[in-house]
Symmetry: C2
């Protein structure tokens, strides 16, 4: 009877996996290739499929199955699957399916409205939707965990174990250290970045994407690169991962760094243990761990001095007019120019954490009720003034710049900063076991990937973020601060 129940469990998980595969592909297609006016019908399909997953998980037979299995002695992996599934099931049972579908429809619509509002710098158009999203997300948080503060629920959803209690001191550290360091950097002599703005033909940029994916050891048989307005990664399964980038003729580095960033996400998804295929334990464990991988590749590797040496010959080959006289040193410095700026996704590695800090403080205030949605643009401007000393000229370059809230993602931003900190700590541990920079210098990223596969990727969701970080001695944000200080003091000769 146990074997039959386990068989039933695997079947349920396979059905849920198929629905997720479908939803992820429909999403991916929607932001890459789908006809421009096809959105309404796609939104309806996505809502229905979300309803199907909910339905399947909450069927009386599914509830009985999970209940029965919870009381049996199981191998470690199956026990973990049951635990995960039970968590999701309990939560789903508390969410009326109509509300789930309504939530799905609302986010599809809000993303559409946000898209136009950003283009047209039209905050009033987006405001009522954000109000609805905030109200509904508080309500949803109540279904997830009625005993927790709603914002803590969303932090936890994105990073298991994270609440304001942990996030506050982390961001306090950033607040204390980064603005001072950024100030010193901004007062020092600045690198020449003019060549980064020179025109680089798109066909050659597309060739560079292929070269970078190869350098990152991404097998193109299982992962391909597409184009979308905002770069992202989505997995159908371990053997079918998609990354996207956005090409700008006068900003080659934008696509280059996006490909490396998304490549880090892709490597993680592609190397989850095959034993977890079509179970609820496949996929990256959390947003923070995911961002630790993408930002590790993008910033720690991709913006390192040795990496500049690896890619420069290729840049000279692909864009001879632009890179003919650029040195490794100059490329490295230009890619790391740090400054207070308006746009998060274009921010340098140093100031990036401050962009996140601003969003964290605003999200907290929105959820606590200290800040009304109507006052958000003003508060946004104040915080950019306070922490970065710059004036936000309009909402398109302010509160409307990010897509996250329009998709109902609250409590997501902090994982970018936490992931950066995880990555710095992973680097410190990795360096104790191998000469990381010697491998990078040779353009041989395989040993680095193998190390991360061993300690992070293969586990999927079989370990919590905390358990992953315990493999690196337990999370300690000081690694991040040390890393930033060392790197930027060297860069700016402070």
């Amino acid at each position: 009877v146990k074997d039959a129940k386990i068989q039933e469990l695997k079947e349920l998980e396979s059905r849920l996996s198929a629905l997720t595969h479908a939803q992820n592909l429909i999403y991916y297609d929607g932001v890459t290739l789908a006809p421009s006016k096809s959105e309404a019908a796609r939104g309806e399909t996505l809502a229905v499929l979300a309803g199907e997953s909910h339905h399947l998980l909450t069927l009386p037979s599914s509830v009985d199955l999970v209940e029965n299995l919870s009381r049996m002695e199981l191998d470690a992996q199956t026990a973990r699957e049951v635990k995960e599934l039970k968590k999701e099931q309990d939560r789903s049972l508390r969410i009326p399916v109509e509300e789930l579908m309504e939530w799905s429809r609302l986010t599809t619509r809000a993303e559409d409205v946000w898209h136009t509002a950003k283009l047209e710098n039209d905050w009033p158009a987006f405001r009522p939707l954000l109000e609805k999203l905030l109200t509904m997300s508080k309500q949803m948080a109540g279904y997830y965990d009625a005993d927790k503060d709603p914002y803590d629920v969303w932090l936890w959803e994105n990073e298991e174990g994270l609440t304001r209690k942990q996030a506050d001191p982390f961001f306090d550290t950033l607040k204390k250290e980064i603005p001072t360091l950024l100030q010193r950097v901004q007062e020092a002599p600045q690198p020449d970045t003019s060549f980064l703005k020179a025109a680089c033909p798109l066909p050659a940029q597309k060739k560079l994407t292929g070269y970078l994916m190869d350098l990152l050891t991404i097998d193109p048989g299982y992962c391909v690169a597409g184009e979308s307005e905002h770069p992202f990664t989505v997995e159908m399964n371990r053997q079918d991962v998609r990354i996207t980038t956005h090409y700008y003729e006068d900003n080659m580095a934008s696509s280059m760094m996006s490909v490396i960033h998304e490549g880090g996400h892709a490597l993680y998804e592609m190397h989850i243990s095959p034993a977890l295929d079509r179970t609820c334990l496949t996929g990256g464990v959390s947003m923070g761990i995911h961002e630790s991988q993408s930002r590790f590749y993008e910033n720690i590797i991709g913006r390192s001095r040795p990496f500049a040496g690896v890619i420069l010959p290729r840049l000279k080959e692909l864009f001879p007019q632009v890179y003919e006289n650029v040195t490794e040193e100059a490329l490295w410095r230009a890619l790391n120019k740090a400054e207070a700026s308006l746009i998060r996704i274009e921010a340098d590695e140093l100031s990036y954490g401050i962009h996140i800090l601003v969003r964290y403080e605003l999200e907290k205030a929105l959820f606590s009720g200290d800040l009304a949605v109507a006052d958000l643009p003003g508060a946004w401007g104040e915080l950019y003034q306070k922490y970065l000393g710059i004036t936000v000229p309009d909402d398109a370059r302010g509160v409307l710049q990010d897509t996250h809230w329009s998709g109902g993602s609250f409590g997501y931003f902090p994982s970018y900063a936490i992931g950066s900190a995880y990555g710095a700590q992973m680097l410190a541990c990795m360096q104790k076991e191998m000469d990381v920079w010697a491998f990078v210098r040779e353009g041989n990223l395989a040993p680095i990937g193998e190390y991360l596969r061993e300690k992070v990727w293969r586990f999927g969701r079989t370990k919590t973020p905390k358990e992953i970080m315990d493999g690196f001695g337990g999370f300690d944000p000081q690694y991040y601060i040390s890393y930033l200080k060392e790197k930027f003091e060297e860069l700016y000769r402070l």
Copy 2:
């Protein structure tokens, strides 16, 4: 209670529509963009989703619902939905879900094996799969309708109302008329087609695609063109249709005619009545009616003398070196060169029906048991010799050329020939109501589309193919023979 039941019905149909949307997109993505080694996991997802649709339709509550509604007095559209759904449900109830999923897995695998077998001219690799497909498709036909001959079941599936009893005399007419006409054509002086093989740069060919879609009145907000090895059309829904083409530098006309052909399919799907959205009555009614539209646009319009006048200026603009000295007359003649040839999808409008005749005779023999799969390549060669007088040099250009059987599509081919015949009859009727060629000459295809929308497209599945053709005076294949004779006698001055 009736309103509540109707509401439940609409919900069931919406869920089934969402699953179809997902399956169609996964298929589309699989043959256009998906990573090359992602197929196994995709096949599993498609099998599971096929299982979900089956499951949903055969739930006791769905059976009760349809049963209850069948006994109620309903508006015409809802009554038709119930009838359609009941038909599908009865059939699904007879098919064990495991066999359905097995069938889905088999066709995914067979398509993969066929793909390589064709490239490598390796019939023995594909043969065991075709044997399995044939056995299983006979078994499936038994579930569909145990009282009918299995091949008649598949003919009927592709074209409601069609069995060998109707198809035999139709193909007898083609067999009697076409080879004689083709013979006369081949003995006449031949047009120059050399410019059709001249190199045309792909970027300009892609521009031509956009121009043609616009000319066909396809709104790019609801339909986009992609690339795949074999051109095809697939709809997610009325507001999201995808066509594909394949570009060859030295065969511009291949993509040009594919875009017009697939454009015909797309127009049909895009203009089905919005009242049928997310019901089982949306989508084209049959393969024959679908092919009547695609082949109407491709051949009747796209290979007409006036259309050559419309596109030639654009070809001169896009490919000046090639088309500088080409006249309308020369273009028209070259696009219509008729001859006995090996490959169906490259065949001209006249000989095309014979390619279909060969496949029809072979399918009949395979299903009756008169022909073993092992003897298929030999029989293929004999029929090409018999009807077209040519020798098939290898299996890649013979029995392995088409994808249909590998996907489990038997009884599909006849719909191409029947669709061509429908199209010729539609033209004859259309000409009684408007000066078709005057509109084409002006490059104004809107009135033609409006006529077809009114008489074909908007109905979706609310009319049978027979009922659609009754709108044109009842199907009569003589229109097709007259059309071919008139066109090719003029072309070849016979």
